[in-house]
């Protein structure tokens, strides 16, 4: 099936580029947090990474439905935090960037008359909003509790060497 405009597949591919970037960024953050002994926070990043991978899957399928070619080679530059707080801040920045990009995509699709793809972008924007909000709450908690108290909640005292 052909899209109303080639711009639609371009927008979907741009979104795919963004998703592929955050998948890798979150995944590395997850494993770095595990390595620092903070598996609970690591699990949150791990789950988000897998969630974004599902988004990438849906984007790939939609691009293919429009007889386009999903560009899985292209990624934006990755920035990895060197502390848990920096990871959370960078995650907020990237989620806010994603929300802006997806809202822009939705608007363009509405203007082109492709309301289904617009809705697809809107749903992704809402997902990213909830992620941004979660990250923001974590930084709020750090402000209230102090980084050490916050991070103490993310260790796993029951873990033993395997």
């Amino acid at each position: 099936m052909k899209p109303v405009s080639p711009r639609v597949t371009e927008l979907l591919n741009n979104a795919l580029t963004l998703e592929l970037t955050v998948i890798n960024g979150y995944f590395l953050s997850a494993r770095m947090l595990d390595n620092w002994g903070l598996p609970h926070l690591g699990k949150a990043f791990y789950d988000l990474s897998i969630g974004e991978m599902n988004d990438a899957d849906e984007l790939i399928q939609r691009i293919l439905m429009f007889d386009g070619h999903p560009n899985v080679q292209k990624m934006n530059a990755i920035q990895v935090g060197e502390t848990p707080e920096e990871m959370l801040q960078l995650a907020i920045d990237s989620e806010l960037g994603a929300i802006a990009q997806f809202n822009g995509g939705a608007q363009e699709c509405h203007d082109l008359g492709d309301h289904a793809t617009a809705l697809f972008f809107e749903e992704m924007a809402r997902d990213e909003e909830s992620h941004a909000d979660w990250f923001e709450s974590q930084l709020d908690a750090i402000t209230r509790l102090g980084a050490q108290n916050y991070l103490a909640q993310h260790v796993d005292p029951s873990s033993r060497p395997s």
Partner: protein, 68 residues
Amino acid sequence: MIVCQCNVVSDRDVRAAVDAGARTVAQVCRGTRAGTDCGGCVFTVRRVVCQHVEDIQSSLVEVDSEAS
């Protein structure tokens, strides 16, 4: 944060290179080795360099205005 994943160069390393006298993105890359492998981070490096140079300049302006 780590900006160059290939050679593990942080934004602090980039700013330190500027503080040590590097004045162009190319000089920063040569000095820190950031962006010298896949090159995917050069725009990030440029952003960090420009921001830092701007910060240095605005702090100089502040010093000037305080002194006058």
